[in-house]
């Protein structure tokens, strides 16, 4: 049996390849590199731009050996008055699926939104969360023993009041999907003081323990806060066991929702170490009682 930690991020070569891969992902999502031949994304706000990003993410997940489903949705606007004047919201959630080693009905869900606010490349918010999930997708694919099925979901329209994740939560409630835990990654690429510290928002108690135990091994300072500030909101509202790790509360990106939220402001060493750490936490969750 191969243990997660042995294949994950233990050597410098692996860390280097993670950094290179994440640099490529963020460069493509922020317009530094073409997302498809001859096409550069300066933002991921309009439906057309988001569709291009969704196609790219689909391709990346498939390349990593995941099966992919697109949840295309149309949903009413946030209030009845707006419904009289505007068409319904239109978006795409990209859902990657990896089955457990032995059949089970339980799922571990990892999520990150791939849309951005208007007029911002959205490097930290939230190409960083997407890059973390994609790097973890590659590692999990190689993991031989998995106790639970894993879903990686790239949510659309988080910036429009979490439309994509709200639609997804309604779907899993309707289908009675058994969820072990939900891990939402948003704003996870900025660390100016180099202490690799993270904040955990509203973690379920058992998830908080996993995260704190591994943080000690990785020498990562952690702080827990309450509330909901991203796609964790609809999951918390529906009472799923959820955790939302993000940048240190006192050292958050100063370029939030601004045109300066660019590739250059991402701390790739921080992102890679966080990926390593989160990967290790997930390894523990997926391998627990598997041996």
């Amino acid at each position: 049996m191969i243990s997660f930690s042995s294949i994950a991020f233990q050597n410098k070569d692996t860390v280097r390849s993670t950094i290179n891969y994440q640099k490529d992902v963020i460069a493509r999502l922020t317009g530094r590199k073409a997302i498809i031949k001859g096409c550069f994304l300066n933002q991921r706000a309009s439906h057309e731009e988001r569709s291009l990003a969704a196609n790219y993410l689909t391709k990346e997940l498939k390349n990593s050996g995941w099966t992919v489903e697109l949840q295309k949705y149309r949903t009413p606007q946030s209030n009845y008055f707006l419904d009289l004047f505007f068409r319904p919201n239109k978006g795409i959630n990209v859902i990657g699926k990896l089955l457990a080693s032995t059949p089970t009905t339980k799922y571990v869900i990892l999520g990150a939104h791939y849309d951005s606010e208007r007029n911002t490349p959205g490097a930290v918010d939230n190409a960083s969360g997407v890059a973390l999930c994609l790097a973890i997708a590659k590692k999990l694919q190689k993991l031989k023993q998995k106790k639970y099925n894993v879903l990686i979901i790239f949510f659309d329209q988080e910036e429009d009041d979490e439309v994509g994740s709200t639609v997804y939560v309604k779907r899993i409630q309707k289908e009675n999907v058994e969820v072990h835990s939900v891990h939402i990654f948003d704003l996870i690429g900025y660390d100016s003081d180099g202490d690799f510290a993270l904040t955990l928002q509203s973690p379920a108690l058992f998830l908080e323990k996993y995260y704190y135990d591994e943080a000690t091994l990785f020498n990562i300072p952690l702080k827990t806060i309450g509330g909901a500030g991203s796609d964790n909101k609809p999951f918390l509202k529906a009472d799923y066991a959820t955790v939302h790790p993000f940048e240190e509360l006192d050292d958050r990106t100063p370029y939030y929702h601004s045109p300066q939220d660019t590739y250059e402001t991402v701390n790739f060493a921080f992102l890679a170490k966080t990926t390593e750490y989160v990967g290790s936490v997930l390894g523990k969750i997926l391998e627990d009682n598997c041996k």
């Binding site: 706000a45 309009s46 439906h47 149309r74 949903t75 009413p76 606007q77 946030s78 009845y80 707006l82 419904d83 009289l84 004047f85 505007f86 068409r87 319904p88 919201n89 239109k90 978006g91 849309d115 606010e117 208007r118 329209q157 910036e159 429009d160 009041d161 439309v163």
Partner: protein
């Protein structure tokens, strides 16, 4: 085609933008625009059916409704550009050529029917 036929055609066509809008919402299982249009149509039909107002007056009310709806669409654009940062991207990018063309058609139909109401 005489003027009365033209007016009748425009009156029928004036329902088209709202019917299209309603259909788009029905596909998203959003029923409020359908409910709203039904209420308007039922109220106007009842006014005519129970002879509370004459047929021409019902058309006039419908014309005012069309013009008011069109003007509200324009006012919303103004509001959106005034408070741009708080506006959801999905709504922001719906303000395109198609939005302005349908708004213009709605207002034009309302004004045309109002001006030519004597020709009925």
């Amino acid at each position: 085609m005489n003027k009365s036929k033209i007016n009748q055609s425009i009156l029928l066509l004036s329902f088209l933008p709202m019917l299209i809008h309603m259909t788009q919402h029905l596909r998203a299982k959003s029923y409020f625009p359908l409910f709203f249009l039904l209420v308007v149509v039922i109220v106007l039909s009842s006014l005519w059916f129970f002879k509370i107002v004459k047929g021409k007056k019902v058309v006039t009310i419908w014309c005012f409704f069309l013009v008011g709806y069109g003007l509200l669409r324009i006012a919303l654009v103004g509001l959106i550009f005034l408070a741009e940062s708080g506006v959801p991207s999905d709504i922001f990018y719906q303000i395109d050529n198609c939005y302005f063309v349908s708004t213009t058609l709605i207002i034009s139909a309302g004004i045309w029917l109002l001006i030519n109401k004597k020709g009925w």
